[in-house]
Each structure stands twice: as structure tokens, then as C-alpha cells.
């Protein structure tokens, strides 16, 4: 049984997109959601509060999703945080770069609540193994 009581950080520069993801997450029963508008803000949030899961967009100003991922993985305290990358299309180079950088999984826009929550569930389950 996956615990829905986790705090999820949604990172996207487009506010509407954050809302979309938030709505979809709610359908999966996740209520505790924090938002950040780019990688820099996300890192700030990660440093200041305990976050259990990151859902981040790929393409953002200041600090892209990939850079955020690398920064998270390089930080001893945050390194283990599950990271789901949202991309607009499954461009091989992008996905491979994210995979090499240690992403937990990726998801291609547009996606449904089922697909999103299924991916999150699987990532968390694999960690509990």
C-alpha cells in the first residue's frame, strides 16, 4: 500500500501547468503539494522543507529541469528524493540525458491522472523494496 501522505513538489514555470498537475495529483489522492516556478525556487523549497517527491518540467528559465535534477542528485541530503521529469515529447536525447542523470522516471505531456499517479506509485513502491 502506497502512502498518499507525502509532500510533492511541482516545478513548472507556467502557473497554469502547475495547476493542471496539482489537479491530476489530487485525483490520485495526493493533497500535500508545494509549487515552485523554476529550478532555483525548487532548490530553495527543497532546502527549507522536507519534500518526498519532485515532479518537474523539463524546460524552464533560470534552471532547467535537468539542471535541477543534477543539483538534487549532487546534494547528499536530497540525492535520494524521487524525481519525475515531465517532458513535452519523448526526445531521445533529452530523455537519455535525464536517465543518465538519475531521474526516477519520465512522463510525456499530455498525460492522464491515471498514468501520472501510476508512475508515482511505482516509483515509491520500488523505493520501498
Amino acid at each position: 500500500m502506497v502512502d498518499n501522505n507525502i509532500k510533492i513538489l511541482v516545478v513548472d514555470d507556467f502557473a497554469t501547468m502547475r495547476k493542471v498537475v496539482r489537479n491530476l495529483l489530487k485525483q490520485g489522492g495526493y493533497e500535500d503539494i508545494v509549487e515552485a516556478e523554476d529550478g532555483v525556487m525548487a532548490l530553495k523549497a527543497l532546502k527549507s522543507q522536507k519534500i518526498d517527491f519532485i515532479v518537474s518540467d523539463w524546460n524552464m528559465p533560470n534552471m532547467s529541469g535537468l539542471e535541477l535534477l543534477k543539483a538534487v542528485r549532487a546534494d547528499a541530503e536530497l540525492a535520494k528524493t524521487p524525481f519525475l521529469m515531465v517532458t513535452a515529447e519523448a526526445l531521445q536525447d533529452n530523455v537519455v540525458a535525464a536517465v543518465k542523470a538519475g531521474v526516477s522516471n519520465y512522463i510525456v505531456k499530455p498525460f492522464t491522472a491515471e498514468v501520472l499517479n501510476e508512475k508515482i506509485k511505482k516509483i515509491i513502491e520500488s523505493l520501498q523494496k
Binding site: 507556467f14 501547468m17 519523448a90 499530455p110
Partner: protein, 737 residues
């Protein structure tokens, strides 16, 4: 050779692989495997085992396909991975034991190549960075579209409209920047991103037209970003038009929300899309660069017949590009195509300019400076010889002409138009106007005026500060302006021109002007002056540059100016620049700043103290005089003073500061030069003035970098060295700071 590292890497790879289930792949594990394969590939190139490198790269391609879920037969893929790992271990063992591998990897590579989308070629063996993907028909990305949810969330839609329109505005601003600097990838990025975001949300909201259009524009920009096509005016036009259409479409959604019928404003999306496609294929009819096929024929990669045949075949499937078709036919290798594409991009870019590292230019200019000095030394030597050869003199004077032209040309190399800076400013004015609720138009004059590349960055901040002041405090609010009978829209004018070896930049506003009386009152109150008599307008205006008058918030209300103007003055003076103000109440204010065209050359006065030569920056010199004995006073607590022009000014004896033996010890025997700095004026005692000269500033070297009072050195016309005096530093030194 030491193969242990490779064997170790392979062991880890095999271990990790045990945990991988290709049918339900665990992404983090796949990531580790991919990194491992990359290491193996790098390592095998280091120890020169090409077979191992080929295998590793082939395997990572297979693994990438699995990650992307674009492989049908996963069982087969898993078998291949396993076989590949075993094969690599064999190769490595064989190398470790015998130093070579006799087996054949071709069979295995053939199996890999049989998987659709995997490209095995010599390039793979030789270079890891070459990505063949760009030229391959897109992998079969799993269709996630089947069950798009109907987000009929009204508030979401409203958010999207508001944010989407904001993003389009951002695009419009940035595309103008891109037009000025088509090479700047960062600008493409700033335009790309909003389209990308709009597309993303539109796809969730089921807004297909918007999504498709944003998508094609995004693709177009992506191509530009990857240098597949170049940024042409046609591209800029189509992106702007596309942004307009998106604006109409997104704006139209509002009507839909209100239950009205959607009005697309008569936009012609198909023709817009056709234009996008055309540009995407590099078919810019304006400048007609060579088509990719033609380039390939020119290069001798394919024959004309082959090209025509493929072109015929491509006509049937218009979405397919010629390059793709040629690769599929096996006529062209991906690498050849990408080279041709690059060549195509090169044609369009402006070949009249090249980019050169500025440090190279600096070196060149430095050397030319040396050349000029050397040649003048030769000339002097020659003049001293009584029996100089006539022919030699002629040759030398020819040489002299060439060197001086060379010097002129080389100094212009670093010059760039001030246009870019101005455009950034006009953008700033727009932003400022928006945030302060004023309506402002910007006028740019003399954008083509040239300035040293190194100066551009330096002058940016002071200019920004002054413009901020002009918009914030100089211009009235629209209501006030109407009341005063002025046009509602304020005007900020930026003007640049050359005058007397300087670049002059004027910032003019048509606002309220400086209020002399209020500045005077403030100055009196702060004790900066005792009475307001005998002060010229210029002198009064200059008070706003003094720290005491500018930092206080109240001053802003009083004078309408003053936020941090002392900082502006400091920055300008650091660049050896000067600032003046012209203002009249109710009509407006002009800041006139003068900067040297370059920091590499200094306009200086050569002076002598004892046997040493020093250079004083001309810009800080006010006058030179020989004081009378009576003009000299020694005041307790204040030290030695000279009465020059009716003002008492402290006397600095240069020979004392630099500890050298002078010719003249007393001011009335030598010469006194009055120099200004931001902290005031002082008199420098020197022996004699030798003359004026433009000298090339040279640093004193790493070890002597931060010597107080000296800004550098220069080689003088006679080949001797002179030290350039940093007035501000010298004052600090004399004040014991």
C-alpha cells in the same frame, strides 16, 4: 596496457544488468547502465579497443530505445543486451591475456543493426558525440493521446488565457532582441520556452489548434537553436505572425468561456503553417540558399540522377524531408547530411563578419602599439646620424606611414556600434514606464556610433541608473502632463555621437526639470555651501552628484532627482568619463556623459619629477601654474595649501610621495598642476611639463597589480617608461588612507 579498469567496469555492468527487467524497465537502473556503458566506451577508446567501443555504443543505443519504449520485441532486446555484455567481457579478457582479440564482432553488430532505428556505422566506432538520431525518423513514441482527459475546468482556462497572453507579450519583446542578435542562442531560448509552455497546457485543455500552432513554431525555433536553419528576417516575421495568431486564438477563448461563439478573427492558419514549413526546410526564397540536395551533389556524395529520383519519391510524402529520404535509401550517411546541413546554414549567415576572441585583439593592439614606439625610436636614432642614407630615410618614412595606418585600423577593430546597448535601454524604459504607470516613448539617435567593446559593459550600469532616474523622477505622471499642457506621453531620448576623441552619450527627458532653488536649499542645509551667491547653474546641478544630497529619500521629493546619482558619478569617473547636466524647469533635463572611446589608450600629460616621467590623465587636469611665494601657506591641521584661482587647495609633493630626488623642492620653483577627483581638487608639485601624448596603457604585471596611486605604465615616444598616475589613489595615499 592496463585493462583492469575496463574489466572492473564490465563486472559492474554485468551485475547491474541482473536487476534489469526489460519488459518493465526500472529507469534509475537503466540510467546506471547507460552511464556505465559510456564509461566503458570512453575507457576502451583510451586503451584502444575499437571492438569494445562499438559494442558499448551499440548496446547503449538499444538500452536508450528500451527506455523510450520504442522497441517492439523486448525479449529479443534483452537477449541482445546479455549477449553484448558477455561478448564485451570476452573481448576484454582476451586483451588482458593476449593483448588482442581475434574474434569477430560483425555478427553481433549485424544483429543490433537489425533493430529498427539503430544505426551502426563507422562513425559510431570513432565518435561518441555524433548523434545519429537527429536524422532518423522520429522513434515510435507511445501515443499517450488516446485518453486525454476533458479538463473542462473553467478557472484553469481563465488562468491559461491570462498567462498565455502574458507569455506572448514576452515573445514579442524578445524576438526584437533576436533580430538584432540572430546569433544569440539565449534569445531563441527565451522565445522557445513560452511557445513550449503554451503548447503543454493547450494539450491538456484539448485546444488542438493552439497546441498545433505552438508546436510548429516551437519546432521551428528548435531548428534555429540547433543551427539547422538560420535566423533570417523571414523567420522572425513568421514567428511574430504566429505569436499574433496565437494571441487572437487565446483571446478568442474568452468569448468561448462567456458562451459566445468562437471568433478566430479570420486567421489563416494553414497558410501560416505552410510558411513555417517552408522556412523550416531552409527554403527562404528571399536569399535562396542552396538546397540540401544541391549541396550533397556538389560535395560528390550523391549524383544528380540519384537526387532527382529521391526528390520524385519524396513528392508522394510531403512531410518527409529530402535528407531523411536519402538516409533511408542508404545514399547518404547521417554524418554527411549533418555536414551538408551545417554548410547550408553557413551560407545564410553573414560572411562579412567573423567572431574573434577579444583577448587576441588586445594582444594585436598591444603589439601594434609596441611597433609604433619602436619605429619612432628608429627614426630618432636615424635623425641623430649625420650621414644618414637618403634611401634609408625614405624607406623609414614609408614604414612610418604604414605603421600609423596599422595602428588606426587596429584600434577600430574592437569598436562596435552602441546600438545593442541602446536597445537594451529602450527595453528598460518600456519596463520602467510600465511599472511606474507612465507612458513613455523612446527615441534613439546615433545608434551606429562606435565604442570599444570593453567599454560597453562598463557604461551599462551608470546609464541604466540615469535612465531610471529620468523615468522615475524626471518625467511627470500622465495626469500632471496633461494638466501642464504637455503631451500625455513622455519622451526619453538617447543620443550618441563622437566628439574630440570621446563618445558622448546624452540622455534627455522632457519632464519637469531640476529645481535649482530646492537643490540650493538642501545644499545650504547640509552645509555644503555657505551662500548661494556666485554659483553657476552647472555648479548647482552638480550638487545632485554629491553623496549628502542624493541618498536621502526626501531629496527625491525636493529635486525630483537624486537617487544614487553619486554612484553614477563615481562609476563614470572610474571610466575616466565626465558628466554634465543641462536642465530647465518644466522643459526637461539632459545628462551629458563623455567617455573615452577606449580604456586601452589614455590621453595624458607627461610630466617630469627628477629623472622620472609620469603621465597624468588629461581628463583630471584643471590647470597648471607656477604659484607665487605668497600663494603658499601652511595651515595647522590641514597641511600645506596653495591658493589657486582664489581657492585654497592642499599641496601634494610628488617627489615626497614617490620618494625620489627632484630638481625643484619648492612650489614657486617648480610647477603645480591642479587635478580633480571626486573627493575634491588638489595641487601636485612637479618639476616640468614635457608634453601631451596618447599612450597605450600597460598593466604593471601580476605582482604589481594593486599599487595605490599608479594605474599602470606606458612606453613613451623616446622608448622610456612612464608611470600613469591614478589620481584618486594618489589622494588616498596622501590622506593616509
Amino acid at each position: 596496457m592496463n585493462y583492469d579498469e575496463i574489466i572492473n567496469l564490465l563486472d559492474i555492468l554485468a551485475q547491474e544488468y541482473l536487476f534489469l527487467d526489460c519488459k518493465d524497465i526500472d529507469i534509475p537502473t537503466a540510467g546506471k547502465l547507460l552511464n556505465n556503458l559510456e564509461n566503458i566506451s570512453n575507457e576502451s577508446r583510451k586503451v584502444n579497443i575499437p571492438q569494445l567501443n562499438s559494442c558499448a555504443m551499440g548496446l547503449s543505443q538499444v538500452l536508450e530505445k528500451i527506455v523510450l519504449d520504442s522497441i517492439q520485441d523486448k525479449t529479443k532486446a534483452a537477449e541482445l543486451l546479455e549477449e553484448g555484455i558477455r561478448l564485451m567481457q570476452q573481448i576484454a579478457d582476451s586483451f588482458k591475456n593476449t593483448g588482442s582479440y581475434e574474434g569477430d564482432i560483425q555478427e553481433f553488430m549485424g544483429k543490433l543493426a537489425a533493430i529498427p532505428g539503430i544505426v551502426i556505422s563507422e562513425e559510431i566506432a570513432s565518435s561518441a558525440t555524433e548523434s545519429p538520431e537527429a536524422n532518423i525518423p522520429e522513434a515510435n513514441v507511445p501515443e499517450a493521446k488516446e485518453e486525454i482527459i476533458q479538463v473542462q475546468d473553467e478557472s484553469l482556462m481563465r488562468d491559461f488565457i491570462a498567462e498565455g497572453l502574458e507569455y506572448i507579450e514576452e515573445i514579442e519583446v524578445n524576438i526584437l532582441n533576436l533580430e538584432n542578435e540572430p546569433e544569440n542562442k539565449e534569445y531563441i531560448n527565451t522565445i522557445f520556452r513560452p511557445f513550449h509552455s503554451i503548447k503543454g497546457v493547450a494539450s491538456f485543455l484539448n485546444l488542438e489548434t493552439i497546441r498545433d500552432l505552438a508546436h510548429s513554431l516551437e519546432n521551428l525555433l528548435d531548428k534555429a537553436r540547433n543551427d539547422e536553419i538560420s535566423v533570417t528576417p523571414a523567420l522572425i516575421d513568421v514567428v511574430l505572425d504566429g505569436a499574433d495568431v496565437l494571441k487572437t486564438l487565446i483571446g478568442g477563448l474568452r468569448d468561448v468561456l462567456e458562451g459566445k461563439k468562437f471568433d478566430d478573427g479570420g486567421v489563416d492558419i494553414p497558410s501560416l503553417k505552410a510558411r513555417i514549413t517552408k522556412i523550416e526546410q531552409g527554403l527562404n526564397t528571399d536569399s535562396a540558399p542552396k538546397k540540401i540536395g544541391e549541396i550533397l551533389v556538389d560535395e560528390g556524395v550523391i549524383s544528380k540522377e540519384e537526387l532527382e529520383k529521391t526528390l520524385e519519391a519524396v513528392k508522394a510524402t510531403p512531410e518527409k524531408k529530402i535528407g531523411q529520404a536519402l538516409i533511408e535509401e542508404g545514399m547518404v550517411k547521417p554524418k554527411q547530411l549533418s555536414q551538408a546541413l551545417r554548410k547550408q546554414a553557413d551560407q545564410v549567415t553573414d560572411m562579412t563578419t567573423i567572431r574573434v576572441d577579444t583577448s587576441k585583439l588586445d594582444d594585436l593592439i598591444d603589439m601594434v602599439g609596441e611597433l609604433v614606439i619602436t619605429q619612432s625610436m628608429i627614426q630618432q636614432d636615424l635623425n641623430n646620424q649625420v650621414n644618414a642614407d637618403k634611401q634609408l630615410i625614405r624607406d623609414i618614412s614609408q614604414f612610418f606611414r604604414i605603421t600609423s595606418t596599422l595602428q588606426q585600423v587596429s584600434t577600430t577593430l574592437r569598436m562596435i556600434p552602441i546600438k545593442q546597448t541602446f536597445q537594451r535601454m529602450s527595453r528598460l524604459v518600456r519596463d520602467l514606464a510600465k511599472s511606474s504607470g507612465k507612458s513613455v516613448s523612446v527615441e534613439l539617435i546615433g545608434e551606429d556610433t562606435e565604442i570599444d567593446r570593453n567599454m560597453v559593459d562598463e557604461i551599462y550600469n551608470p546609464l541604466v541608473h540615469m535612465i531610471r532616474n529620468s523615468v522615475d523622477h524626471g518625467l511627470e505622471t500622465p495626469e500632471e502632463r496633461i494638466k501642464l499642457g504637455k503631451s500625455e506621453k513622455g519622451l526619453i531620448q538617447l543620443k550618441a555621437y563622437h566628439r574630440g576623441g570621446n563618445i558622448v552619450i546624452e540622455i534627455t527627458d522632457d519632464g519637469r526639470g531640476l529645481d535649482k532653488n530646492k537643490i540650493l536649499q538642501k545644499a545650504l542645509k547640509n552645509g555644503m555651501i555657505q551662500s548661494e551667491e556666485g554659483l553657476t547653474d552647472q555648479e548647482i546641478y552638480k550638487f545632485i552628484f554629491l553623496p549628502g544630497l542624493s541618498t536621502a529619500e526626501k531629496v527625491t521629493d525636493v529635486s525630483g532627482r537624486g537617487v544614487g546619482m553619486d554612484v553614477v558619478r563615481q562609476a563614470i569617473e572610474k571610466l575616466r568619463g565626465k558628466i554634465e547636466i543641462e536642465s530647465s524647469v518644466g522643459v526637461g533635463t539632459t545628462f551629458i556623459t563623455r567617455f573615452p572611446l577606449t580604456l586601452a589608450i589614455i590621453d595624458g600629460m607627461i610630466v617630469k619629477v627628477g629623472a622620472e616621467s609620469y603621465i597624468l590623465p588629461t581628463i583630471s587636469i584643471r590647470q597648471a601654474l607656477r604659484p607665487t611665494r605668497e600663494a603658499y601657506t601652511n595651515i595647522v591641521d590641514k597641511g600645506e595649501m596653495i591658493d589657486a584661482m582664489g581657492h585654497l587647495m592642499p599641496l601634494l609633493r610628488l617627489y615626497k610621495i614617490f620618494n625620489i630626488e627632484p630638481k625643484h623642492r619648492e612650489p614657486w620653483d617648480g610647477i603645480v598642476v591642479v587635478v580633480d577627483s571626486e573627493s575634491g581638487s588638489k595641487c601636485l608639485l612637479i618639476d616640468e611639463i614635457v608634453g601631451k601624448a596618447e599612450v597605450v596603457v600597460k598593466s604593471l604585471g601580476e605582482g604589481l597589480k594593486n599599487i595605490k596611486g599608479l594605474a599602470g605604465g606606458a612606453i613613451l615616444g623616446d622608448g622610456r617608461i612612464g608611470l600613469i598616475i591614478d589620481i584618486e589613489g594618489l589622494f588616498d595615499l596622501s590622506d593616509g588612507r
